[in-house]
Amino acid sequence: MKRRKFIGMLAGAGACMAASTATAGGTHHFKGYPESFGVLFDSTKCIGCRKCEAACNKVNELPAQPVPFDDLAVLDSRRRTHHDTFTVVNKYSVNDKPVYRKQQCNHCLEPACASACFVGAFVKDKTGAVSHDASKCVGCRYCMIACPFEIPTYEYHDPITPRVRKCTMCQPRIEEGKLPGCVEDCPKGALVFGRREDLLNIARERIRKHPSIYIDHIYGEREMGGTSWMYISGVPFEKIGMREDLGVTPAPELTSGALSLVPAVVGLWPMFLTGAYALTKRREKIAEEEQHHAVAEAVAEAQSEAAKKAKAAMEKAERDKQAAIDREVKKALKEAEEARLKAETPADPSEQ
């Protein structure tokens, strides 16, 4: 993921932008709000009793379910959160033993849904809860595309005011000093509510004390930049339907590199395009000038050629005229000479 981030920064295109991209996405590391709360789920303690589902249904005043919460047969089929079911428990068979996993919003430290929302309807609260404000929502469902845990759900059959629905971490109850509904009703202590830092310590302690029971991994400590809900388990998380290939990059960083190029495009593109236009215009102008020049030159050349010709013709005419004059003069002189000779010559004696 580090590499992907690096490539993402390069990919943005302009190498000149790399520096600012790095500061936009890289230098600060958000560790979550100090003192914020979370819940630790311990899959080794969960017995799949669905008490948490029932409690969630009750405290969130969700509609009655077709299957009662004490019917455990539903555990045999895979379920996901729904617009009137904010949490579900699924049963997985690992090495022929049932393992249960509770699913609800993980309340990411830097939520993908909040990063995706183009009206800012999602807020990560200082309590740790990520809540959705339906009064802002346009209903584009990009949050559902973005969420790597497939949590937000939608009221597809409401024609006028459909809502995005998901676990609220019982934020109103937390503010009243109460526990989230599911945590309060868990009979086996599979859910522990507390400050996130304390939960991490509890989880580490359990793993340290019982290395034979737990896998050495706290899911949610770093996944997608960290989540407020965290999980410890005795079996690989992949085996209980949890993606282990999500990486540790907080969702906003996936887009911050490319987004930081927006101002660059807005700033640079008009200049390039105006430049292209100016170059085109200039090229046209130069071409036009060259054409003018060439025409003028051709005209001048033609003119000088014509003048030369005219001059030559004039000269020739002059010469011809002179020659004619000379010729005439010569002829006249010759005639005069002849006449003089004729007069000087005595008459032919024979004529006399």
């Binding site: 995706a116 584009c140 990009y142 973005a146 597809y156 459909p162 490319a258 987004l259």
Partner: protein, 389 residues
């Protein structure tokens, strides 16, 4: 022209009857969608929140409307004046394309009446969708002004026409900036879902891929629609349009060949950077190769040959393959390779009603386009405004 048609020719041609039938079904489904909710007509689920209304109507619609910015940039910014007659048809198609993208979006948005919220009441600038919304809204405005002279000419509102026309250069630059941003940000939308989109299609370059591929998409649509206009609307075209058309087709073919080849190379750089070569030997890899070789490289070569041999026919066929390739790419990213890890029974397949609404919207768009091309000075110059561009 109308005076060429004999009065006996009926309005109820087969094409018009089909159009009418589709429009009626579409209206019925529209009523259903807006009274009983999105879920009543679509197969969308919590796992698959975006279907063909986003994958086709939005992503493909925007890509295929790219002819507007590519053509006007070529003519007004890069001085390729010999393509001038292609600008108006391209702007018209782009304007209608975007208008219908926004129209289609109203079906998909749960609270469609809040569409202006991101731009006015609650901006969410960390989202690529915010950028898409902002740019599409602004670009639609730009296109409306760029398109308007055809209307003012018909109405003979000379002052308004002059005013709109005098903005051409600024609007063209603005249009290219906005197109760069929202064409790429459509790809950027998927940067947020690396765990859901198949690695062969997911890339940190996604935004760049979308932008670069929108260029041949736009050029191909100009060639494709030009070819169709010549067949069906020849009588509407003036001498300049008919004379310039082969030049437009072959010039655009050459440009499309170059950009497609660039795109082809870029895509492989994307695969190489994330070292995703091993996926090529899987079924997904075969599908990726179909897209890359059959719908990028093949049309690229077709265009190159068409430009060299000056074959308008081959360029026309290449434009069809390119357009199909763009549609395939956008659908792959938004639907086919998206959620690839979900089990088959949870994958999305559009319902017939969903498809029908998309067909309805496309039909409506083509109908409006036909009316525009027939009634407005788009394929010919208005006699009172000859050479006034």
């Amino acid at each position: 022209m109308s005076h060429h048609t004999t009065p006996s020719k009926t309005f109820w041609t087969p094409a018009n009857i089909l159009t009418a039938v589709i429009l009626v079904i579409g209206l019925v489904l529209t009523v259903k969608r807006f009274t009983m909710g999105i879920g009543s007509v679509t197969n969308l689920t919590d796992d698959n929140p975006w279907g063909i209304w986003i994958g086709f109507d939005l992503l493909c619609g925007v890509a295929l409307a790219a002819g507007g910015y590519t053509t006007s940039a070529a003519v007004y910014l890069f001085g390729m004046k010999k393509y001038h007659s292609a600008v108006r048809p391209a702007i018209t198609t782009a304007f209608l394309g975007y208008a219908f993208v926004v129209f289609a979006l109203l079906y998909d948005l749960g609270r469609y009446y809040r569409l202006p919220y991101p731009l006015t009441i609650y901006p969410g600038p960390t989202s690529f969708l915010f950028e898409v919304g902002l740019c599409v809204a602004l670009y639609l405005t730009v296109l409306a002004i760029e398109f308007s002279p055809a209307l003012w000419e018909t109405l003979r509102w000379k002052k308004l026409r002059f005013w709109a026309h005098s903005l051409t250069l600024v609007l063209t630059i603005f249009g290219v900036v906005l197109s760069t941003l929202h064409q790429s940000s459509l790809g950027g939308l998927y940067l947020l879902a690396p765990s859901k989109l198949h690695p062969l299609w997911y890339s940190p370059y996604l935004a760049l891929f979308f932008f670069v591929s929108s260029i041949p998409a736009g050029l191909s649509m100009v060639i494709f629609e030009g070819g169709l206009s010549h067949t069906f609307l020849h009588h509407k075209m003036d001498e300049t349009h008919i004379k310039e058309a082969p030049g437009v087709t072959l010039g655009f073919a050459k440009a499309a060949a170059v950009v497609l080849f660039t795109y082809f190379n870029l895509k492989w750089i994307g695969v190489a950077l994330d070292n995703n070569w091993h996926y090529l030997s899987t079924g997904w890899g075969a599908w990726f190769l179909v897209e890359m070789l059959g719908f990028v490289l093949v049309p690229c070569l077709m265009y190159a040959v068409a430009a060299r041999e000056k074959s308008q026919k081959l360029a026309f066929w290449a434009s069809i393959v390119t357009v199909l390739g763009i549609v395939l790419n956008r659908l792959n990213i938004s639907l086919v390779a998206f959620n690839w890890q979900l089990p088959a029974e949870l994958r999305y397949v559009p319902s017939w009603e969903e498809i029908m609404i998309t067909v309805f919207i496309v039909t409506l768009e083509i109908t409006v386009l036909r009316i525009c091309l027939n009634k407005l000075p788009i394929l010919h110059e208005h006699p009172e405004f000859k050479g006034a561009h």
